[in-house]
Symmetry: C2
Subunit: 721 residues, 2 copies
């Protein structure tokens, strides 16, 4: 639509144009649009090597190279590669494709390192989230749950001897959530009652609310589930424990006592066979209970060793992964939207011959560039999270293997901060990614609405990331709560050690400071000062909440969510600054664009959106706040503008991974788009299957005829007599 007020005005002036445009020939003399040329021209100006930037993004040379090789491997594999026609698949067809891809993936798991396979899986998850989650349910949830909750022998049996770790023989699902219990796992109502007479547990679903629900893989694939159920021994309820329960026999037929169904159509991830399960007096041998932490003896004696809390560590992996997914999704969609913004022209701004590139409109910059900057921050931040998580798991394994009590104690400290960090990064970044996809979609206008440009499917597939494996609000409230409690501990004199939250050791000083951390414009340009401002805000905010937190944690739920978001950004900002200092040489050509992105990141993603809080707690002075909100973000956008093609190219995501007709590298937007649309939807089919209905409607007889003319004047005369 044109701005109508403009048109009205313009036409009014014109009436008959005194200088009409002369055109020649029998058709218009206009030139076709040439988006590829525009993109190529900007690409030619990129002043850095993409590989150097990619290594910065991925955290190092080795990881960067592995990822580039994996992109290539996936692009070449005829089963794993993407095709535009995949956007037309029905649920049935998508599930068929996903099954074939899982099958193909098992070929790799047998021949490459587990670390490399996990990386392959992580990348595949971005382009086929249904396939990703179906494998992750088995490897990340079923097998990891056994690893976290079972003994070494139990793990060796199920994962290795029975080959569940290779998606062979067994395929496990994760029976945690119930129809009436999502976030509150401790409230699960499925029961596992010990029958001393037969040395068995009886797994049972007492009522509809305890029906296992949303269980990925349960409907058609899983042979086994880990079942979260209340351990009941001699009428005593020991709370929720985990049990391996077979669902299907070796012929893949359901076992008696197991009722299973497909939960049917979903908003996204249609390729996953999520199911519901009801157990009716299903008996499993005692040794199917996972008993690394909790043991039930033959006589029904229950032991709960002190380290059971470590069993929850297995839940971290999913969150760490989802934070990293957010970076890759951000990279994919900012690439599409910014290539389109450079290639697409709309309205004539300066009265010149050509229309203006979308990317040159300040509003368009303000919509997209902050997300680009956020994606860079998320790249380095989530890489650090992954590294710290791996370190934690290694320490835990080492501590348990050597029974090193000190190491275990330190690991528990690190685990606590990892719960905060993974929780706040997972929730903040999956929310942001969801908004990012939607905004990028809108920034591509109508073409963003075509399935072949991939926004719709990704948004719908993505959306569940804000809900599962820790509902974002619940996770964020939990992270916020820990921050408040931690600040209180520090105020009470207990300093933090072995924790990523050690910056909170300064909370007493920061909270007391009267002077604003950011008082003049120049302060906004100093990343270290901004980081300090975020620390100060977290400290002051937490201190302010301590009194209420004693009486009602629930009443400050909204504030705890804000704290969690601030914690996420502190983590990203700290990492961005540090890596820029440590890894990028002073004269490197990637330094300038990164410094500009860093500023744009914290101004548009931290200072500006949380300005109300920064002002309320006096961390930013009111005058600087106006600068931050009104003029500075646009100035930073203008500075970033020349680099956008280079910055998105640096993500190095190939066309197969971008999987969007208007987002392809060559930038030939319109030809790529129309030719694929024609290939997929054969224009020879000019009539739809429903055409008969439709044509009959258009050519229907008159209302009078269909009424058998029985309301006519003639009939009136007859029937009125």
């Amino acid at each position: 639509m044109a701005p109508m007020a403009d048109l009205i005005k313009r036409n009014k002036k014109l009436d008959i144009d005194p200088n009409p445009k002369k055109v020649e020939g029998t058709t218009s003399s206009t030139e076709p649009p040439s988006p590829a040329k525009d993109i190529a021209a900007e690409r030619a100006n990129t002043k850095w090597g993409l590989k150097e930037m990619h290594e910065f993004l991925e955290g190092g040379e080795a990881k960067s190279t592995e990822i580039l090789r994996l992109y290539q491997s996936i692009e070449r594999d005829p089963t794993l590669q993407t095709r535009p026609e995949h956007f037309d698949l029905t649920q049935k067809e998508e599930r068929q494709l996903v099954a074939e891809r899982i099958n193909q993936m098992t070929k790799y798991i047998e021949i490459e390192s587990y670390a490399k396979f996990r990386r392959r899986l992580q990348l595949m998850t971005v382009i086929d989230p249904s396939m990703g989650i179906r494998i992750l349910v088995n490897l990340g949830l079923f097998v990891n749950c056994i690893k976290g909750n079972g003994t070494q022998k139990q793990y060796d049996f199920w994962a290795k001897k029975k080959e569940a770790g290779h998606l062979k023989q067994l395929y496990g699902c994760f029976g945690m959530t119930e129809l009436g219990h999502g976030s509150n796992v401790a409230g699960c109502e499925t029961t596992a009652i010990f029958d001393e007479a037969t040395d068995e547990f009886i797994i049972d679903t007492p009522h509809i609310g305890a029906t296992k629900w949303w269980i990925g893989g349960a409907a058609h694939s899983a042979t086994h589930t880990v079942c979260y159920a209340r351990l009941i021994v001699k009428d005593i309820d020991y709370g929720v424990k985990t049990f391996v329960v077979p669902l299907r026999d070796s012929q893949h037929n359901l076992l008696p006592g197991i009722a299973v169904g497909d939960i049917g159509a979903k908003m996204g991830r249609q390729g996953v066979d999520n199911g519901w399960i009801q157990f009716t007096e299903v008996r499993i041998p005692r040794f199917f209970m996972l008993q690394r932490w909790c043991k039930v003896s033959r006589q029904g004696n229950v032991t709960l060793p002190p380290l059971e809390q470590l069993s929850y560590i297995s839940l971290l992996e999913g969150r760490v992964g989802m934070a990293a997914d957010s970076y890759r999704i951000g990279a994919r969609y900012t690439t599409i939207a910014l290539r389109y913004a450079v290639g697409r022209r709309q309205f004539n701004r300066d009265g010149g011959e050509e229309e203006t590139q979308l990317v040159n409109y300040p509003l368009h910059q303000r919509r997209l560039f902050p997300y680009l900057a956020l994606t860079y921050a998320a790249a380095v931040g989530t890489d650090r999270l992954e590294v710290e998580h791996n370190q934690l798991l290694a320490n835990l394994d080492k501590g348990l293997a050597t029974n090193d009590k000190l190491l275990l104690k330190n690991t528990i400290n690190a685990t606590k901060s990892m719960f905060v960090d993974s929780g706040s990064l997972k929730s903040t970044l999956t929310w942001d990614a969801s908004d990012l996809i939607a905004e990028c979609r809108q920034a591509c206008g109508g073409h963003g609405y075509s399935s072949y440009n991939s926004f719709g499917k990704t948004w719908s597939d993505w959306s569940v990331q804000t809900t599962w494996e820790g509902d974002n609000n619940v996770l964020a409230m939990s992270a916020g709560k820990t921050i408040i409690k931690t600040v209180q501990q520090v105020l009470n004199g207990r300093k933090l050690k072995d924790s990523s939250l050690e910056f909170l050791n300064d909370a007493p000083t920061l909270a007391k400071a009267k002077k604003a951390v950011i008082r003049i414009r120049e302060h906004v340009d100093d990343p270290d000062r901004v980081l300090k401002a975020v620390s100060a805000l977290i400290a002051k905010f937490a201190v302010d909440l301590i009194p209420v937190s004693h009486t009602s944690m629930d009443s400050i739920g909204p504030q705890r969510v804000i704290l969690s978001k601030l914690r996420c950004h502190h983590y990203l900002l700290e990492t961005f600054i540090q890596r820029l200092n440590d890894q990028v040489k002073a004269k490197s050509p990637i330094r300038e664009p990164l410094e500009k992105l860093l500023r744009l990141y914290y101004v548009s993603n931290i200072l500006s959106p949380f300005i109300g809080e920064f002002l309320r707690f006096g961390v930013v002075s009111p005058k600087t706040a106006i600068y931050i909100n009104a003029t500075y973000p646009q100035q930073l956008c203008t500075e970033v503008r020349p680099f956008v093609i280079g910055l998105t190219d640096s993500f190095e995501q190939p066309d197969n991974f971008i999987h969007s007709l208007i987002g392809k590298y060559n930038g030939d937007i319109y030809n790529n788009y129309l030719s694929a649309v024609k290939t997929i939807n054969n224009p020879l089919k000019t009539k739809a299957p429903y055409s008969e209905t439709f044509e009959a409607m258009l050519n229907r007889p008159s209302l009078e005829e269909r009424q058998r003319f029985e309301r006519s004047k003639e009939v009136e005369e007859i029937l009125s007599k």
Copy 2:
């Protein structure tokens, strides 16, 4: 997920619970959840008649009654009614259903008043947006375009004689958007060249960028299109005009020179056969040009009368409709999410027997109640917009029929403010509705992700509302621009008349005022004062932007969007206050809840989100700002809490319209949900169609065997020699 930090801590304390919970019998003694009881209990406390509130929402008794009857008519009609299994339809099946529904709708258009039919169509559009838009493309765009741009005779011929107005004989589509031209209609490149020799226009698509794109109905349904094309006569380009161009003959076969294709899969509205069209030297008689405003004579003389701007009025109808749609969508999704929030329990807050209802968590209230309040404001605001739009059209028809120059002049004034109002309401409210659906989805957790609860399909279908018939950002910038220009005119001494923007006549005074409008807490409780504060902010903001606007309107794009949002809220707030004063008696039982909602609306949707601007321009004092942001919204939520079931019941949307298993009136969430899931997805089908692939994978031979054992030690010995 449970908040893990909590679990860790709790378990640490417990080790073995000193007071374990005793359970009896062989299965758990827990009771099934009973959401229906909770909802019924709150419903019993509703202290007002739903009809009275519904009349307030819909603007009066007659409209309310008509809507309730139409709900009933739709629910009873076997073709129009909704069913849960509709969420499983493939694109093909959805198009079939939509075709049948269109056919059924044509039966009503023949026998009921056009106003009633339009209301029926409006309601159907909420539950079947694909069907809605397919009819609207013909009636709202094709026929309206002929009405707006054609002569009375032309309209009579196409709409009446040829029965396009009854979806009979003809079915028109709207050939405006091109592959390379969306928002900039004036930049369209399709040409209509006058051939004086044959008295015809030659319609032509010069290159790929001018391909008509996204044309709803073009792929398989439309017999004709109105084509936006550049009028070229004797080598002079007169700009974009409109032409009726036949696409298919009476046998529904494509005409020569017309290339058409299906644009294929889309994010939503899969039931619409959007297509692309390329014209190659398609000849139409001169009299197929719509010539109410612009005429081409037999000799090729072109006349452009002064009132051509009125031709754009036909575009307003869609915007007015989409603003109203936003209200109904808001009503539908807040109803679902709040019923679920009352019925669903999660975590035990107070140590009692039962878990806490979601709706009692302050965070949950803060997430949903502001949207409920916004929906109420949108109801009254969009009803007013509809009334004013109808008035405008009536005046225009009257003015043209009687050639009343004064009336036409006044109508043009009103048209200008209607462009601002419809543009700012359409953009603001369709954005808000999009966020509302997504937030309500998340507030229903995993169950929000099931298709049968309707969030996913609606969000995807809805999403295009932010893009089409005026991209939201373009519309909002246009509205913002008019506001700035209008304020400038007023400053120059030209007062507004016959305009809904007359409040801007106070701009000079408001902009000069030094004292904040809202200075103390009590001021926040005064709706009239808050309305004045919004006026003051708009005035000050606009005055501040005037200098830059002279040099570069584009550079203030982001600020113009904010102005447009403020204009929308001014409109809604003004209407809400006025109708509450005029239509609700002092002692009416609906007054108390409405007064509370009104406050919650403006605090959480205006004062709080725009607090940065209110502070920057000194309209709200900093101390009051803290109150507005920190404590007051929660207090208002607590006040609204007891009314939420009554307030959502008052929307009076029946189950058929709500179309969501967890949102049904009876509140029996879990039984409604499971029983439908079982009916739609037969649990007897325990194996998927792809099961063979999957079972073969699980039971595959070992890697060594598949490698023909050719990498064994034995082979090594052989091949190493």
